[in-house]
């Protein structure tokens, strides 16, 4: 892939116009074929037109090539061709019971009034760990900050062990095994 990049760099500086477009199209097709078979069909259709679809990170530089601009090609060298053919929506990774459990225990271990050695999944905040109800409010607020959604007060005052908190979050977030 590196030699084709350098070839493109030298080739497109020399040629211009339709010759440049053909050269760019051939090299792009070769690069993309080495990555993704499916992408070739789309790219060979698109290269004549705009090239905005496939390599999203380099759409601008490729369209400049097809338009005949002699833009500095330093952007292409040293960077990889990321060909994404699918939509990417912004979302968090899906929650599982183990990850919720690990995160809850991690946040609890960070709290300075709890000794990490005594902390278990079933340790009661008031009876086993000797915490206050104000501490329990602070713990629930830390859980809200960790998982990003509010736990209403009516439910929050009932959550007294880490296992109950994990259960509640799994109920709210539809996490099941």
């Amino acid at each position: 892939m590196e030699d084709s990049v350098s070839r493109m760099r030298s080739g497109s500086l020399v040629h211009c116009g339709s010759g440049l477009r053909n050269m760019a199209a051939r090299i792009i097709a070769r690069c993309v074929r080495s990555l993704n078979h499916r992408a070739v069909c789309l790219n060979s259709i698109n290269t004549a037109a705009t090239l905005t679809a496939a390599p999203l990170t380099h759409g601008r530089t490729f369209s400049q090539l097809t338009n005949g601009h002699k833009s500095p090609l330093a952007q292409i060298s040293g960077s990889s061709f990321q060909v994404f053919q699918w939509r990417q929506y912004g979302d968090l990774p899906p929650l599982t019971l183990e990850t919720i459990h690990d995160r809850v225990l991690y946040v609890l271990k960070l709290y300075d009034k709890i000794t990490p050695e005594k902390l278990q999944a079933t340790s009661h905040f008031m009876k086993d760990l000797g915490l206050d109800s104000l501490d329990q409010v602070e713990i629930i607020m830390a859980m809200e900050d960790e998982f990003g959604f509010e736990i209403p007060d009516a439910d929050a005052e009932k959550l007294m062990t880490p296992q109950e908190i994990v259960q509640y979050i799994a109920d709210k977030k539809d996490v099941y095994e």
Partner: protein, 138 residues
């Protein structure tokens, strides 16, 4: 919470939580928030052993008024909480589950495992349905 009224304990805890959230909205830097949160906790801690309910209620009332005077005009709300941006956003898409029975068989064939278990689930629900005796007036 079973009863219709909040106990004094619950009211104090709710005041503590919402005042902490508003302090968090005021103090955007985390260390500054932590400092003022510790000060607030100390204020709550020195009065928490009050046995006289009259004085405790007066202190709670004073605390609520102080909260009202110092609240943030646009506190940070979680997206799913009431007043947040995403509150009840997906309510229109939450269809009741009896609509699943009205699916076309070709659609049901796309999820064979679920619909196989669904029949068993419905039978279990019919078996364990709570029996409501309408003769007893409560």
């Amino acid at each position: 919470m079973a009863a219709a009224y909040l106990t004094h304990h619950q009211k104090v805890l709710r005041l503590y939580k919402k005042s902490l959230r508003h302090i968090e909205s005021w103090c955007i830097f985390r260390d500054k928030y932590r400092f003022y949160a510790c000060l607030l906790r100390a204020r709550f801690d020195e009065n928490k052993h009050e046995k006289d309910m009259m004085k405790a209620t007066m202190m709670l009332k004073a605390g609520e008024e102080e909260f009202w005077a110092n609240q943030h005009p646009q506190p940070y709300l979680f997206p799913d909480s009431p007043g947040g941006t995403s509150y009840e956003r997906y309510e229109c898409y939450k269809v009741p589950e009896w609509c699943l029975d009205h699916w076309h068989p070709s659609e049901k064939a796309m999820y064979p495992d679920y619909f196989a278990k669904r029949e068993q689930w419905k039978k279990l629900r019919m078996r364990t349905r709570p029996v409501i005796n309408l003769n007893i007036l409560e």
